[in-house]
């Protein structure tokens, strides 16, 4: 994982997610694997950080 992964995870925790069914919005937490991974990936993309394919388990050391 990139060296910026810890910062990416911390940034992800500041983001929110809106459930497409209930329309309820909540902050992203470590118990929301897809939302967390998607946010981390978004951070990597926005900051031009190179990364390879990863999954939720790859983020667990940083949670």
């Amino acid at each position: 994982m990139p060296t910026e992964t810890k910062q990416a995870v911390e940034w992800a925790y500041t983001q929110s997610y809106t459930d497409p069914l209930t329309k309820q919005t909540s902050n992203i937490t470590k118990d929301m694997p897809m939302q967390l991974v998607d946010a981390v990936r978004s951070y990597f993309n926005s900051n031009h950080i190179a990364y390879t394919s990863f999954r939720y388990s790859d983020l667990q050391p940083y949670l």
């Binding site: 991974v37 998607d38 990863f54």
Partner: protein, 304 residues
């Protein structure tokens, strides 16, 4: 009375173990030192044994001749997946022979695997034209290899990944439509950033009479899902002797932004009226590289 010792905790990914410090058996893994003490090790409930982690190897690296290749040690592991990538220009002409050893590489025997691309079973593949992923049950064996023979043109590269028995999906017991079901997350938020195949966690499915899947994808590209099965048939005989007549591999496509897309083993080519596989895993691959999102697939099984 013995002096109290300091417990040591090792975490590798989702695997955790606790042991009692023993200066005579310290193991350094990365930045962590693990004090191995089998007689006093404690396992975290629901976690695995820390020393059993997935192994990877390159068995053949652009091999252009007849060669045994690199031996892949799989001692203590349960399932191995080999990715065979032939050259296209010139096309690889030759045979890759899948072999296993139970005595550390002294004696080799042919070993049957299942093809992801064709859904067939074989102990070798001759002049493949496309990359393919082969799955093998390696329980009890110490090593496997992908020996090349009859090579007259091109090259072939074979990479492998082997996983322990306990790298299986975590189970959640629940009810669905009034029936008891077991849920397994076999792809948990996989952010695909390439076009190479990705394998899921292994799922033991022999205990189910029915099995289905839900797919959730936020990937900005569609992803193809195919099936790999392993182990023995429940009804008759072993995988080694089965003709594969009831199984014709079928790939399904998860579209962009799929939310709880349902599919079944039948959609993947398995006629569950004929048999239920012992184990399975899914292979996910994108034809175009996604730039955002991830993929999760959850299975639900109805126990026998």
């Amino acid at each position: 009375m013995a002096t109290p010792q300091t417990p040591a905790v090792l975490t590798i990914g989702s695997l955790k173990a606790i042991g009692i410090q023993d200066a005579n058996s310290a193991i350094a893994l990365g930045t962590t030192t693990f004090y191995q003490s089998p007689s006093s090790a404690l396992l975290i409930p629901g976690e695995g044994i820390a020393t059993q982690i997935a192994q990877t190897a390159t068995l053949q690296n652009a091999e252009s001749g007849n060669a045994n290749g690199t031996t892949f040690t799989v001692d203590g592991l349960g399932t191995a997946v080999l990715q065979v990538v032939p050259s296209t220009s010139p096309a690889f002409t030759g045979t890759v022979n899948f072999e296993a050893s139970a005595d550390g590489g002294t004696t080799w025997v042919a070993r049957t695997g299942s093809s992801s691309a064709a859904g067939t079973f074989a102990k070798s593949v001759t002049s493949p034209t496309v990359a393919d992923v082969w799955t093998f049950n390696v329980a009890g064996f110490t090593s496997i290899r992908a020996r090349t023979s009859g090579v007259t043109a091109g090259t072939v590269t074979v990479t492998g990944r082997a996983v322990p028995f306990n790298e299986t999906a975590k189970q959640i017991e629940s009810t669905l439509a009034g029936r008891n079901v077991t849920e397994n997350t076999i792809f948990n938020a996989l952010a695909i950033n390439d076009t190479t195949p990705h394998i899921s966690l292994i799922e033991n499915v022999y205990q189910y009479q029915k099995l289905g899947f839900y797919a959730y994808s936020t990937l900005d590209q569609s992803v193809a899902i195919s099936l790999q099965i392993g182990g023995q048939l429940i009804s008759s005989g072993s995988l080694e002797t089965w003709t594969g007549a009831a199984f014709a591999a079928t790939t399904i496509t998860i579209p962009v932004s799929a939310f709880k897309l349902a599919f079944t083993l039948k959609d993947l080519g398995v006629d569950v009226q004929q048999f239920m596989p012992y184990q399975l895993l899914l292979v996910a691959a994108c034809a175009s590289q996604p730039s955002a999102g991830s993929l999760s697939i959850v299975s639900w099984g109805v126990p026998n």
